[in-house]
Amino acid sequence: MTSSLNLWVIPLLPLAGAAINGFMGRRSSRRAVTTVALVFCGAAFAMALYVAARFSSVSLPYQEVLTTWIRAGNFSVDFAFYLDQLSLVMLLVVTGVGFLIHIYSVGYMWDDPGYYRFFSYLNLFMFFMLTLVLANSYLMMFIGWEGVGLASYLLIGFWFIRDSAAAAGKKAFIVNRIGDFGFLIALFLLIKHFGSLTFSNVFPQIAQLGPETGSAGLLTAIGILLMVGAAGKSAQIPLYVWLPDAMEGPTPVSALIHAATMVTAGVYMVARSHVIFERAPSALTVVAIIGVLTALFAATIGVAQTDIKKVLAYSTVSQLGYMFLACGVAAFSAGIFHLMTHAFFKGLLFLAAGSVIHALGGEQDMRRMGGLRTKIPWTFWTMTAATFAIAGIPPLAGFFSKDEILWRAYQASWAYWLIGLFTAFLTSFYMFRLWFLTFFGKYRGDLDAAHGNEPPAVAAHSQDAHASAGHSHGHSGIHESPRVMLIPLALLAVLSIVGGWVGVPGSLGGSNRFDKFLGPVFHATAPRVNPEHSATGEAAPPEQQTEGPEPQTNRSTELIFTGISVVAALLGLGLAYLLYYKRPDLPERIAASLGTFYNAVVQKYYVDELYAVLFVKPLVNGSTRILWRGIDQGVIDNAVNESADGARHVSDNARHMQSGNVRSYAGWIALGSAVVIAYMLWMGAR
């Protein structure tokens, strides 16, 4: 380690920006706030690029210890940073996409009275996210992990005057705490059994263990608990409920935190812990099943949403499910690949959606959009790039990453592949539905009757979509967004198109450089697979993917599967085209014929209601009746009040002795001495 990369500067730059804006932003001009926020965030991005340029000149994994943080007996944790190929990818994604979204926010938030506060929070988020990504131990990671949760809470509730935003912030925070509980227990288990939380200390120890063959063991427990944490942060079943509500925040926040970076922290954490997961097949199975079910589940909900941001939110949940599916079949680099391309195109989708909302003066309901193609052409074309990318149309970014995941899922189990494929079809369908509804057909914003023929449940639901129009742009008339918002859109669109080309699989004449690049992280420590294990397929740890290019026989199969997934994407496109462009009367009839099932989907399968009945109500009631009325008021308050009352009663009586009447004092003295004398006489008589 001859040369220092000064990694510690990268997280500290946004922190400095956050501090300056937070403490002084109120009194500075918008221009000054903008400068501070962009300069510090941009500097972090520049540093990341510098690190990337110097990357080959340092020995990996590169570590940088600043100082000791905690020392207790043999256990110690340092303030230290860690860089390997995985961190580098995350670092570039976070700073790059983050910087673009910072630029975009300048235009989007310009009219907001909380401008400086917004950028302070946004920089704070960057600080914690970079800490998370660059952490060299689980505890450092946990700081970032909790910090991004805090930033997420602050930014979801950014328009805290609105009750729904404040509630959504609380919901995100509380649901995340449930996940963090699992994460913490996993950390305790690691400390107990491996005596350390530092990656470079724990992983070699674990790498010496063989894969756990039984259904449960220490590594399985740690893996599942880590997955609980990841499910909270990355919005997987059963903890995904907070993410759709998080759309109450400003749209750049949805793009940065709830699409591109923070929610992928769980995927990053699972990928970072690949050494543990590779040795815990049952935990891997859990990850894969949660991932694939979430992908399917969220995609079906996304199909019926009418709020443009809610569709994207469920889409995010669904795509995160894909990433976990990839991790669950031990294709970690595929998961990270999808994470990266997803950051590009989903960030772009949210920003473009923000641009649409901005253009319509706060309207988020897709039923009141339409025909915007010619009115906001820049937004339209960038959104088109992102839509095709997420739908998996070649040769855009999403195609390569999703195809990679589906192929690797197929190698583990055909069931994963089938559900994944169906989800890909749904993804394509709901994205093109959004695309057609927003940009094609006639503009429906001036038609209030659009609500008349909707099922009643939908109409009721759309109330909160309208309420979300927090920042009103006073002017009417549809207008393209300012250039400061369009430039990030354009750059992200380019990335969404070319971003996948770093990972062109061998079957398509590429060499999957991305996989090779991440190879040293994931493959060096993979456990040796015993043959009978890989034969069982489903829960098997990585198969032969560690060794070189895949056999020729697989190549044609892979090509066929690629073809199938492209067909699925095109089918989704075709169906959306049919239903929302050619025959816009059909969806309602289909919805009507589906009846209750459709309503269940529109109501998000009543999961929120179910959680309310199962967890929230009992907790609230229990807290109210037992903890509040019973223990707090009954026991604690009562004890205090009763002792005070008792003291008052006693002193009330004792007070009468202090009458101020000298003769009564003398009487007391006489009585007292009489008692003393009587006592002495009695004692003397004995």
Binding site: G660, V662, R663, A666, G667, A670
Partner: protein, 100 residues
């Protein structure tokens, strides 16, 4: 020779009379005299014990008590006269300016 208990009982009665007078009377001069009565009750037991044990220290104590009582009487009567001049009463219950 009168036995010791008689003296002690008389001394106790005198002291009790003094205490009772001190507690129930309102006239400040009567209270004052009750105090003298208590002192002399004690004096009686002192001399009785001195005679009984043939020890002089009891009688010496009595002299001290009488001296202190005389001084006290001088100061106390002066206070009583001052009180009477300002308040024009000898009733202790009406000397209550310091009470709340």
């Amino acid at each position: 020779m009168v036995p010791l208990p008689y003296y002690l009982v008389l001394s106790g009665i005198l002291f009790a009379c003094g205490v009772t007078g001190f507690l129930i009377k309102r006239n400040i001069i009567t209270i004052f005299m009750s105090i003298e009565l208590m002192l002399n009750g004690v004096n009686l037991s002192f001399v009785a014990f001195a005679a009984h044990w043939h020890a002089l220290s009891g009688q010496v104590f009595v002299f001290f008590v009488m001296v202190v009582a005389a001084a006290e009487a001088a100061v106390g009567l002066a206070i009583i006269i001052a009180v009477y001049r300002t308040r024009e009463t000898l009733n202790v219950d009406q000397v209550n300016l310091l009470k709340l």
